[in-house]
């Protein structure tokens, strides 16, 4: 068939292919024009790098891990201790850097687990419909009927304190939001003609979900996940505050605030430093998430 005589090439074809942009390129081009988002990105990078390279950045890594240094306790910020020392004489900067390892990784892992559970369930519920949909969505209703902090608190206390248990507890309260989001997107996609076209070609259902449905629902999921990172860190800090989560002497921003609250009036620096770290990360994730949401929406996208 190739080279058959009389082949007409449509006159509407553009002759020279110009550069073509993928959606993520377009999102990035819009995102990078948002100053707040770039500030947010910078803050997050500072915290991540600080947590990752904590042993290299502080002269007191053993204090960051929890070794007390009673003689130096309650020192206000100085050249030797830029953020002062806490009630056991530990360098607060080192504690904040090490605490970031717990707080940031818990936030990320919670969202990753929630996405991994929620997204497939939502796609299955939306695509199959019927009683499968009914069962999955009623399950999400059960989880969403409880205030998520209370539910996480109850699960974490039932499982016992500790990093892994707390992470599981928060993730369990979180996945239904992704299930709902993905299900609603899938419901509208399912009726789109290109999904029907795939069916008429003979593509089996699970492959339709994997190749046609999921790639088209993931953009809002990434946006939601970014916004949720801040909230997940906040909730994990709350659980750490009440004593679940990582156990002293290990550092977490939540338990640092908790330990510092008794001395906050006279010596605000060590609860304040941890609080500021929580505040800045949550704020930064919100800036990033908002910008991402606008950038992902073709109608709000800046060019």
């Amino acid at each position: 068939m190739q080279g058959a005589p009389g082949i007409e090439v449509s006159p509407f074809v553009e002759p020279a292919p110009a550069a073509t942009y993928s959606e993520w390129r377009l999102i990035w081009r819009s995102f990078r024009q948002d100053k707040l988002a770039l500030i947010g990105l910078a803050i997050i990078l500072v915290f991540i790098l600080g947590a990752a390279f904590a042993p290299l950045l502080t002269p007191y890594p053993e204090q960051g891990r929890g070794d007390p240094n009673i003689l130096e306790k309650f020192k206000p910020p100085s050249a030797a201790h830029p953020l002062g020392t806490d009630y056991l004489g530990r360098d607060v900067l080192a504690r904040v850097l090490y605490g970031g390892r717990s707080s940031l990784s818990m936030g990320f892992l919670v969202v990753v687990i929630a996405v991994l559970i929620g997204v497939p369930l939502g796609a299955i519920a939306g695509y199959l419909g019927g009683w499968v949909d009914e069962i999955i969505m009623r399950a999400t209703d059960v989880f969403m009927a409880f205030p998520s902090l209370l539910l996480a608190l109850a699960i974490a206390s039932a499982l016992g304190a500790g990093f892994t248990n707390t992470m599981i507890a928060i993730a369990v309260t979180w996945w239904p939001w992704y299930t709902r989001l993905v299900r609603s997107q899938t419901l509208s996609l399912r009726e789109r003609f290109f999904v029907e076209a795939a069916r008429s070609i003979g593509l089996p259902g699970h492959k339709i979900v994997l190749t046609h449905v999921l790639p088209n629902v993931m953009t809002p999921v990434w946006v939601q996940a970014t916004l949720d990172l801040g909230s997940a860190i906040l909730i994990s800090a709350a659980l750490n505050f009440v004593g679940l989560g990582v156990q002293p002497p290990a550092a977490d921003w939540g338990n640092m605030v908790s330990q510092g609250r008794l001395y906050f009036i006279d010596r605000p620096w060590f609860a304040g430093a941890a609080g500021a770290a929580i505040f800045l990360t949550v704020l930064a994730f919100n800036f990033i998430g908002d910008a991402l949401r606008d950038a992902a929406d073709p109608y709000l996208r800046r060019t």
Partner: protein, 339 residues
């Protein structure tokens, strides 16, 4: 419910070896109510007993107003919807009662071109992926290199520059997208294509191009089309035979010229009288048949002949007895008591 047609009817309808046989096909969508205990309170009779053949290499037009069930008919014939009853055979394969293997074969042989070229292409896939999908699904060309070559051939054939193989659908115009849809439908070398209003969403200037393309492809590959449309002049241009649908049933079926020149069913007459004539004098002098009222709900179609509440020549029996589907002249079928 299968093959309720009398044997004589069956014989008479047989032209030269039909590729597609549809026998008393019905598709009802249940309407349910109730939150926990669902009750079926009725059904939308979208397709309620249609029977026809399509010969190899033929184009059968299926026309009717919006909501008459033409699109549902096309999809049920391809098995995208399970049939409520009746039978559809495509090249000997029973669409609704075959094993997995046969259905897989059917998905190669029968394809569909969709109405909306904006919605029928996955926005995240390149043209290479979209047109190559049938080749990949059916393992026709597992090698990516060979597949890309074949996709380029197909693009050239439908009038797209093969250079555009790595572009995304949003970079194309409506007409170009529909060409991509056509190329995808052609990829697995099908023998039967359901064209579901393939040109309704396009500009008039582009419509002719796509229709000409479909005609060329039919000549080249011996394709058989079921051409669903509501544009009667376009149907007259492309189709060999035309079936007129009203509220889930076919009321008249005839050779194209026969149908357009001697419409027998009052609904067909009314439809044709609405087609504009490009001659103002003639247009003014002809008689327009304007139907009273709206199409009744397919949830509760009128008894007897479905057209009787709007029919200008309805008789007493029309509201009681469903008219028989009979051949009044060679190849001219109609369901009306008055004919």
């Amino acid at each position: 419910m299968i093959a309720v047609q009398a044997p004589s009817t069956e014989d008479a309808m047989q032209t030269s070896q039909p590729l597609v046989k549809v026998r008393d096909l019905r598709k009802h969508f249940p309407v349910r109510r109730g939150l926990i205990i669902e009750r079926q309170i009725g059904s939308v009779k979208a397709v309620d007993g249609i029977t026809f053949d399509i010969a190899k290499g033929e184009t059968l037009g299926l026309v009717g107003e919006s909501g008459c069930g033409k699109t549902t008919a096309g999809r049920t014939i391809l098995g995208l919807y399970p049939a409520t009853s009746g039978q559809a055979l495509i090249d000997g394969i029973d669409v609704h009662h075959s094993n997995r293997e046969a259905i897989k074969m059917l998905r190669r042989k029968a394809q569909m071109i969709f109405q909306d070229p904006y919605a029928s292409l996955n926005p995240r896939w390149t043209v290479a992926g979209i047109i190559g999908e049938p080749l990949r699904v059916h393992n026709i060309l597992p090698d990516p290199q060979a597949r890309a070559e074949r996709v380029k051939e197909l693009m050239l054939r439908v009038g797209l520059s093969p250079q555009l193989i790595n572009r995304f659908p949003h970079e194309f115009s409506g007409g170009q997208r529909q060409r991509i849809g056509v190329a995808r439908a052609l990829a697995s070398n099908p023998s039967f294509i359901v064209c579901d209003e393939p040109i309704s969403a396009l500009d008039v200037s582009i419509q002719a191009q796509v229709v000409n393309l479909l005609e060329d492809l039919q000549d080249e590959f011996g394709l058989t089309y079921l051409f669903i449309a509501h544009d009667l002049s376009m149907v007259r241009h492309i189709c060999d035979r035309v079936a007129v649908m009203y509220l889930g049933v076919i009321v008249e079926l005839a050779e194209r010229d026969e149908l357009y020149e001697h419409p027998l069913h009052p609904y067909t007459q009314a439809l044709l009288s609405a087609v504009p004539i490009p001659d103002p004098k003639k247009d003014r002098s002809r008689q327009r048949i304007i139907l009273a009222g709206d199409v009744p709900s397919p949830l509760n179609p009128p008894p007897g002949c479905r057209f009787h509440p709007r029919c200008p020549i309805a008789m007493d029996q029309c509201s009681r007895i469903q008219p028989e589907w009979r051949e009044v002249a060679p190849g001219h079928w109609v369901a009306c008591h008055a004919v």
